[in-house]
């Protein structure tokens, strides 16, 4: 091992977390062996010049996120996270299972709500969710799918078991970084790629487009898909442009759309053109001023009615937020059993429901040992980590919990697993999570091999969100063998195939010319 890993074992032992790369005693786990070999041959100067070059590429390509009104390159660490084929197999099935259950749940919530009638989830919890929208009650979305795109956040606990941390079935973002990270890594650390088959991610935009087209309203032969963005000031604007570009579809803003007669059109130079599928990248609240926030300038009036009438498919469907609610999350294992009749493949993180008296008592007693999260927060907003909080913060929190038990959940502090990450002049263990992305086209759930690994760049920090100093890592899923190569394509052997000539026989012009000259 090179000097770069000096002291790594000590630091890793100190975190008390599961290290993805090294088993105890600093032995690289099997799926990391190739990578460890490649890294061992590098010295500090080489590693930092590669890291600089990668950061520069990101800035040049505009792979940025918006931080306090400023464009910053999304930090990409040079050490990738590797997942073995077996582990991925489980994750993939687990994520797909969860998506199918949530799909069924949302369908139920906005129709008969039999899940409440059968006593699986209290009706009160569903209807009191901030993102439960009565406006979209009682209709089946065109195309029949609600969760087209989802990002299920998964973490590994101290024992090395994967657990689902939260579900994102509204507007999961981050897939653009998966695509860009892979491109940057192929150039930044080329040595590690040879000799091991890594499953590609570049098919995502194609899969996304075909899933979106497949869920178009009935009777449309050649559906027009658009990506609806809130605009250039949105923090994920880069992702919107990248996905629209890679799918070859228009990126529209609300003001580019018009609704008439329950159909949606976009204004083009060739007149109005019908839009059949909208990949919505803004919050429900802003989508339609007639139904939701009337002061919204980002949406387009009439979209909800158009969707209700089946004139347009909106992906993801409106009202999905109820499944993101962290209190509903605590019921997902029951939902899987209820709708699918299966046992959950990936379990949840243990969660205290504060509306239950016993649980609340326990949480209030142990507030300084637990993580407390608001049920509708995202991006790590409002989250309080007990052991790191001051007495004042805990007192404020305690009052909030008592006043609004529906608004919060509590979980034990998870020591997220760690991966070596370049910091300063050596590699140190940093905590990571994983967001696999799944696409549902109505028939099948496809999970992008890998997903976004976010890493907390500060030592000991458990918050991986980019808005709070997080970065990312490329995520490699190893293929089972070389026989399932990147894009299986038989070698075109011209020699075997009979060659037919289609070009006219060449005239012997030059010869004749030569003769003439003589």
């Amino acid at each position: 091992m090179s000097d770069l890993f000096e002291d790594y074992a000590v630091a890793a032992a100190r975190t008390g977390a599961y290290d993805e790369m090294f088993a105890p005693d600093q032995i690289a786990r099997p799926m990391y062996r190739q990578l460890a070999g490649a890294l061992a041959s590098l010295d500090l100067a080489d590693v930092s010049s590669r890291a600089d070059s990668m950061a520069r590429t990101f800035l040049d390509r505009g792979v940025t996120f918006d931080y306090a009104g400023e464009e910053r390159p999304f930090p990409l660490d040079i050490v990738p996270r590797v997942i073995s084929a077996d582990e991925w197999n489980v994750l993939e099935r687990g994520v797909a299972q969860r998506v199918r259950a949530l799909e069924a749940f949302l369908n139920d919530v906005y129709s008969k709500m039999s899940v409440a009638a059968d006593g699986v989830v209290p009706r009160r919890i569903i209807t009191s969710s901030k993102h439960f929208h009565r406006q979209v009650h009682g209709f089946e979305p065109a195309g029949g799918v609600r969760v087209h795109i989802s990002g299920i956040d998964v973490v590994r606990d101290g024992a090395g078991t994967f657990r689902v941390l939260e579900d994102n079935v509204r507007v999961p973002s981050g897939v653009s970084y998966v695509l860009e990270n892979r491109r940057a890594m192929a150039k930044g650390l080329p040595e590690a790629f040879s000799e091991q088959p890594i499953r590609p991610v570049e098919e995502y935009p194609r899969r996304l487009l075909s899933a979106l087209r497949k869920t178009a309203p009935a009777g449309v032969d050649d559906p027009t898909v658009v990506v609806l963005t809130p605009g250039v000031f949105n923090s994920a604007y880069f992702e919107h442009t990248l996905l629209a570009g890679l799918m070859g579809v228009e990126l529209v803003e609300g003001r580019d759309l018009i609704c008439r007669g329950n159909r949606v059109y976009m204004r083009t130079t060739a007149g109005e053109q019908r839009v059949d599928v909208i990949y919505k990248r803004l919050d429900d609240d802003f989508l339609d001023p007639l139904q939701f926030r009337s002061d919204s300038m980002l949406g387009c009036p009439g979209l909800v009615n158009a969707a209700r009438a089946g004139g347009v498919t909106i992906a993801n469907a409106l009202g999905n937020g109820v499944a993101d609610d962290k209190l509903v999350y605590s019921y997902v294992p029951d939902l899987i059993r209820y709708y699918l009749g299966e046992e959950p493949i990936i379990s949840n993180v243990d969660t205290f429901r504060l509306e239950e008296d016993a649980a609340r008592e326990e949480v209030l007693d142990r507030l300084d040992e637990l993580v407390v999260k608001p049920v509708d927060g995202s991006g790590g907003k409002g989250l309080v980590i007990g052991p790191d909080a001051t007495r004042d913060e805990l007192d404020t929190l305690r009052r909030q919990l008592v006043a609004d038990p529906r608004g919060w959940i509590a979980q034990p502090v998870l020591q997220l697993s760690t991966v070596p990450t370049l910091s300063g002049n050596r590699f140190g263990p940093r905590h990571v999570d994983l967001r696999p992305f799944a696409l549902n086209d109505g028939d099948d759930v496809w999970v992008l091999p890998g997903g976004l690994t976010r890493v907390a760049l500060k030592e000991g920090s458990l918050i991986v969100n980019s808005s709070q100093g997080g970065g990312s890592k490329d995520t490699w899923v190893l293929a089972e063998s070389r026989n399932v190569p990147v894009e299986a394509e038989p070698r075109h052997s011209i020699s075997i195939r009979e060659r037919t000539s289609v070009w006219p026989v060449e005239s012997s012009w030059r010869d004749r010319e030569a003769e003439q000259q003589q």
Partner: protein
């Protein structure tokens, strides 16, 4: 204008475009090559070199040798460094005709050639840098030179080489076992986004090849590049306006272009190798014909390349 100057300009156009095309091909293929086990790397590296029209000098030809041959070898015009060196040498001989900013750009590029790491990681940056420089040369050519005969010769060389390079890009598809996907083929030509915007949903290898071969609006497609060459030839010799041709180069270029442009096929992919071969041959023939017509000179005088 002097034949000698015209020839230099023609070759500046060709060499700069060759450097550009080689950088594109190398950049994309390097990524694929890296994903292969070492034993495959060797054979693929050799095949790739063959597509670029060269032959390995040694038995033991692997990735580092490929990098040297296609990027850094200054003694052969197959490599990027060789092409750019030759372009600069030509510009030095036609210095009074090219604009000073164009000369300066080529010269700066030449001196920048040595300032790069010559391993795989460095080569990615190098290719990127070369593309920037060649784009700059292209821009300066178009904006700082009068669009007169001298410019036309430069454009002629550039268009012919561009058709040739696109043909080679498409030929590299045959090289890889692990699948040179159409995505990479399009990325190679910088055509990925342009292609996606024309074809919304249904696309595969065939459509991508068709786009690079026959698209009338994409500047790096073979049909487009050959049309550019045809236009330049027409302007250079406006005398044969009406019937027939008196210029062999126009015949070769025009026939190749019209054949491709109006070709109907059921299976483009089977025919692709033939198309590529014929396009490359047409370019070589046109180049010969242009030399005979415009640059005629004593037989023993060969163009002097840069040797260092």
């Amino acid at each position: 204008m002097l034949s000698r100057i015209a020839e230099s300009l023609f070759w500046i156009g060709r060499y700069v475009e060759r450097a550009d095309g080689t950088a594109r091909i190398l950049d994309v293929h390097l990524e694929r090559l890296n994903h292969l086990p070492p034993e495959d790397q060797h054979s693929v590296a050799q095949e790739l070199l063959a597509v670029m029209g060269s032959r390995p000098e040694r038995e033991d030809f692997g990735l580092p040798e490929l990098l040297h041959a296609l990027a850094y070898d200054r003694t052969h015009a197959t490599s990027i460094a060789g092409s750019l060196g030759a372009a600069r040498e030509n510009a030095r001989r036609a210095r009074e005709t090219v604009s000073s900013s164009l000369w300066e750009c080529l010269n700066t590029t030449y001196y920048g050639l040595s300032q790069h790491r010559k391993d795989v990681v460095g080569t990615y940056r190098f290719c990127h840098w070369v593309l920037e420089r060649t784009a700059m040369v292209g821009g300066l050519t178009d904006t700082t030179m009068s669009h007169d005969d001298s410019w036309l010769f430069l454009v002629l060389g550039r268009s012919l080489e561009r058709a040739d390079m696109t043909a080679r890009m498409l030929s590299t598809r045959e090289v890889h076992t692990a699948g040179m996907s159409w995505v990479n083929m399009l990325r190679c030509a910088g055509a990925y986004e342009a292609f996606l915007r024309t074809r919304r949903a249904a696309f595969d290898d065939r459509h991508a090849a068709e786009f690079l071969l026959m698209d009338r609006l994409f500047p790096r497609s073979i049909v487009y590049a050959l049309r550019d060459a045809d236009d330049a030839l027409e302007k250079l010799d406006p005398s044969d306006q009406r019937v027939g041709f008196i210029n062999d180069a126009r015949r070769v270029v025009g026939q190749a272009r019209t054949f491709l442009e109006f070709h109907r096929t059921d299976d483009l992919m089977i025919e692709l190798p033939e198309h590529m071969e014929r396009v490359q041959r047409a370019v070589a023939q046109a180049s010969d014909a242009i030399s005979r017509k415009y640059f005629n000179r004593a037989d023993e005088q060969a163009w002097v390349g840069e040797v260092s």
